[in-house]
């Protein structure tokens, strides 16, 4: 744990420096806000609507599932690289991947059962 103490000290220094820059800018800089300065900056075009519009959470769900399966799929690559050498010395690696793959397929079956992939 002692190795992390310098990081805490560094964090304190970094916070001091960034707060100092922030405060100095606000003290030294001028402050004359006008209406156009305080409006949303959209490249000179009149701002229209709100940026924080609600969207269907189906998009979010599909994105999360994609990320999950993407990362899981990435684990196949190192396995495929060492597979040829390791299959000669027994099938442990194959068994391990079968277990892993069945967990993944189980997840996919669960998603299908929950009807998550259909866009409603």
């Amino acid at each position: 744990m002692e190795a992390f103490l310098p990081i805490v000290i560094l964090l304190i220094f970094a916070i001091i420096v960034s707060v100092a820059i922030f405060v100095i800018t606000n003290v030294l800089g001028p402050n004359n806000p006008t209406a156009s300065k305080l409006s949303v900056y959209e490249c000179g075009v009149k701002p229209e609507g709100n940026a924080r519009q609600p969207f269907r959470n189906q998009f979010y769900l599909i994105a999360v599932l994609f990320l999950l399966f993407d990362v899981e799929g990435a684990f196949f690559l190192p396995w495929a690289l060492v597979y040829r050498e390791s299959i000669l010395s027994g099938g442990t690696l194959l068994l391990a991947l079968i277990v892993y793959m069945s967990l993944m397929v189980l997840g996919l079956v669960y998603i299908f059962k929950k009807d998550c992939l259909r866009f409603r």
């Binding site: 990081i7 820059i21 922030f22 800089g29 409006s39 940026a51």
Partner: protein, 165 residues
């Protein structure tokens, strides 16, 4: 842990952190001069020899600039954004070895803020936190363009991080 250890620790942190901050103007100068060289234009050449003091002049200018906060923003997150990008950038140097160790009163002192066993994991973990500042700033400014930009930046960060790690 004695007071000497603590003093050495704080001094190392101070020296390396201040050293890092000193490097920033030089790197800005190198970047601008390099881009100018590639694009066949002079680049910064007014302030100091070869325009080397230009980043310092810029820094002073930035300090004297107004910092307007639009009324439609989420104030806390909008102001928190720059902090959250600067802090990870400062924290990642903690695990980097700067130079060979030197001997001081019979003990070896590595020129490194801390010797972590999980140094590479630490660097990866902290450097990926920098995206929060961009996302906070982009979302909090209540601006469609900056929101899209922040999302692009975040997705690029995430997609490059998985193969890197």
């Amino acid at each position: 842990m004695t007071w000497l250890d603590l003093t050495i620790m704080v001094l190392k942190v101070l020296l390396i952190y201040v050293g890092l901050i000193q490097v920033v103007p030089v790197m800005i100068w190198v970047e601008r001069k390099g881009a100018a060289l590639i694009q066949d234009r002079p680049g910064p050449n007014r302030v100091g020899p070869f325009g080397m003091f230009q980043p310092i002049a810029d820094a002073v200018k930035f300090l004297f600039k107004e910092d307007p906060v639009p009324t439609s923003v989420n104030k806390l997150l909008y102001n928190l954004g720059p902090f959250l990008t600067l802090l990870p950038a400062s924290l990642t140097i903690a695990a980097l070895p700067i130079a060979d160790f030197f001997v001081f009163s019979g003990r070896q002192i590595p020129v490194q803020i801390t010797e972590l066993d999980v140094g590479i994991v630490y660097v990866l973990a902290i450097s990926s936190l920098g995206i929060y500042g961009i996302l906070f700033g982009g979302w909090a400014s209540n601006n469609k363009f900056s929101l899209i930009g922040a999302m692009r930046s975040a997705s690029q960060m995430v997609s490059y991080e998985i193969p890197l790690a």
